[in-house]
């Protein structure tokens, strides 16, 4: 009995410790976001040209270099969703609604989500590992010792670059997926492209474009913030680098799915 009580008390202690650890991490994350905002506000005017350069490099890596993989994925998903949906739509006699289905499922939901997942996998891992390596190799300390704010120089261009990139990639994904849907409806449903596009036009509005952009920007900003935070808080041992990457990617994925669900719930209300 005594052993059981001890085990139970030990479990509660462990649970409490874990909850406290998570609370501390959350607080640390909030402080990091505050530091990023402060760093953005106090960015020296003379440093902007260097920051633009870093921002451009980030957009090139995150958005431009990811375009082929996003195109392939979007084409497949657009085609597959429409092919599957067509089989069901024929049963219920609503084939003409395929365009609207594509607008709802792919344009609003899957486009930003898949763009964000690809960016977490490609750029999130790169951001976390680069910054963790910089921490381990003493680069961050050296910059701090010279009076440089590492957030201003290393983090801000990554955050803004990722926000722009995911917003652009989400729209790019949607455009390619729509094309994939067009090919699939033509092939499977023998629906004339004009009818498909008309159905799509009826199912979409300007608000959708704004929504996709806002979602993409938020996913990008969140992913880069989380992965930067995970990278910069790495302990100064090489073993900390993969740990930081794993932590950053897992939290960023949870963030992306949670925010996506929140958007859907809020818009459904």
């Amino acid at each position: 009995m005594a052993t059981r009580e001890l085990t139970l008390s030990g479990s509660f202690t462990a649970l409490g410790g874990k909850a406290r650890g998570t609370g501390d991490e959350l607080l640390e994350g909030v402080r990091f976001v505050g530091s990023c905002v402060r760093a953005a506000i106090s960015l020296p005017r003379n440093a902007r040209s260097l920051s633009w350069r870093s921002l451009f490099m980030q957009v090139r890596f995150t958005a431009v270099d990811a375009m082929p993989i996003i195109a392939g994925l979007a084409l497949l998903i657009g085609g597959l969703v429409i092919a599957q949906a067509h089989a069901q739509a024929v049963r219920f006699g609503v084939s003409e609604a395929l365009g609207q289905l594509l607008a709802t499922v792919i344009v609003r939901e899957l486009g930003p989500l898949f763009a964000a997942i690809i960016v977490v996998a490609r750029s999130g891992t790169a951001i976390a590992s680069e910054l963790a390596t910089a921490r381990v190799m003493g680069e961050v300390t050296a910059l701090e010792a010279l009076g440089v704010d590492p957030i201003q120089y290393m983090v801000l261009p990554r955050l803004i670059g990722a926000a722009i990139s995911v917003a652009l990639l989400a729209m790019y994904f949607d455009a390619i997926a729509i094309f994939g849907g067009l090919v699939a409806t033509w092939f499977f449903a023998h629906l004339p492209p004009g009818d498909y596009l008309e159905s799509l036009r009826l199912g979409m509005s300007t608000t959708d474009v704004l929504l996709v952009t806002a979602k993409g920007a938020m996913f990008g900003l969140g992913t880069a913030t989380i992965c930067s935070w995970a990278g910069l808080r790495a302990a100064r041992t090489p073993a900390a680098i993969p740990q930081s990457v794993t932590r950053g990617v897992v939290i960023a994925m949870v963030f992306v799915f949670t925010v996506s669900a929140m958007f859907t719930i809020i818009l459904a209300l």
Partner: protein, 219 residues
């Protein structure tokens, strides 16, 4: 206030008490002091000077400030008056040597990109590093990396430079030339090293020995 560094019965970093005997010394403005000690002690000593940590006892004053007590922004401003080359050298791996020198000049010293670039050209030239300007740290030999770290420390013409085991892989003749340059480029220099060779001693105004027996003037 003629002393740029004052250690008054300092007893190690707050987080990790490491020294059995407290450390006291002063370094006047315009001097080059050399502290000969083990690597595990030189890093915490320089970290205290830079305000990365607070002493667990005693008082540290550098350039008229107590660095460990300064706030986040104040400590950054304080560090901007200094140059340093610590171990590891901390050159940013994905930047060329030129950018490694330019970035701190722009972000910390407040120079425009054009002014920073001009100053970078000067320092690359006097340190004989121009041929490496477009190389990244990983492709540079160790002695070039050490010279580059020193160049970065000197580039903002700081009032005080802190060096940890500087130029350990650089040959004697070049070390002598670079130390002469250091003396010309900055006012005061504190070097912490575990080396016992004579070149650093030639340039030092005072040499301190720091081991288990305490902190004292070297024989």
């Amino acid at each position: 206030m003629n002393d740029v560094i004052e250690f008054d019965h300092v007893q190690g970093e707050r987080a990790e008490l490491k020294w059995e005997r407290p450390v006291s010394f002063t370094m006047p403005r315009g001097a080059l002091h050399l502290i000969r000690t083990r690597s595990t002690w030189s890093s915490p000593l320089l970290r205290l000077c830079l305000g990365f940590s607070e002493p667990s006892g005693g008082r540290v004053r550098v350039l008229g400030h107590e660095p460990g007590t300064l706030g986040r922004h104040a400590v950054r401003d304080f560090r901007r008056g200094m140059g340093c080359a610590l171990e590891p050298d901390g050159l940013v791996a994905n930047l060329t040597l030129r950018m490694n020198l330019t970035v701190p000049l722009v972000f910390a010293s407040g120079l425009t990109t054009a002014e920073a670039s001009e100053r970078t050209d000067q320092i690359l030239d006097i340190m004989h590093l121009t041929i490496w300007e477009n190389s990244r740290p990983a492709s540079m030999p160790l002695e070039v990396r050490q010279t580059a770290a020193l160049a970065r420390a000197l580039s903002s013409r700081p009032a005080l430079v802190l060096l940890e085991n500087p130029l350990a892989s650089v040959d004697t003749r070049e070390t002598r030339r670079l130390l002469s340059l250091c003396r010309a480029q900055c006012e005061s220099l504190l070097i912490a090293t575990h080396r016992k060779d004579g070149i650093l001693h030639e340039f030092a105004d005072a040499v301190w020995e720091w081991d288990d027996d305490g902190f004292r003037v070297a024989a």
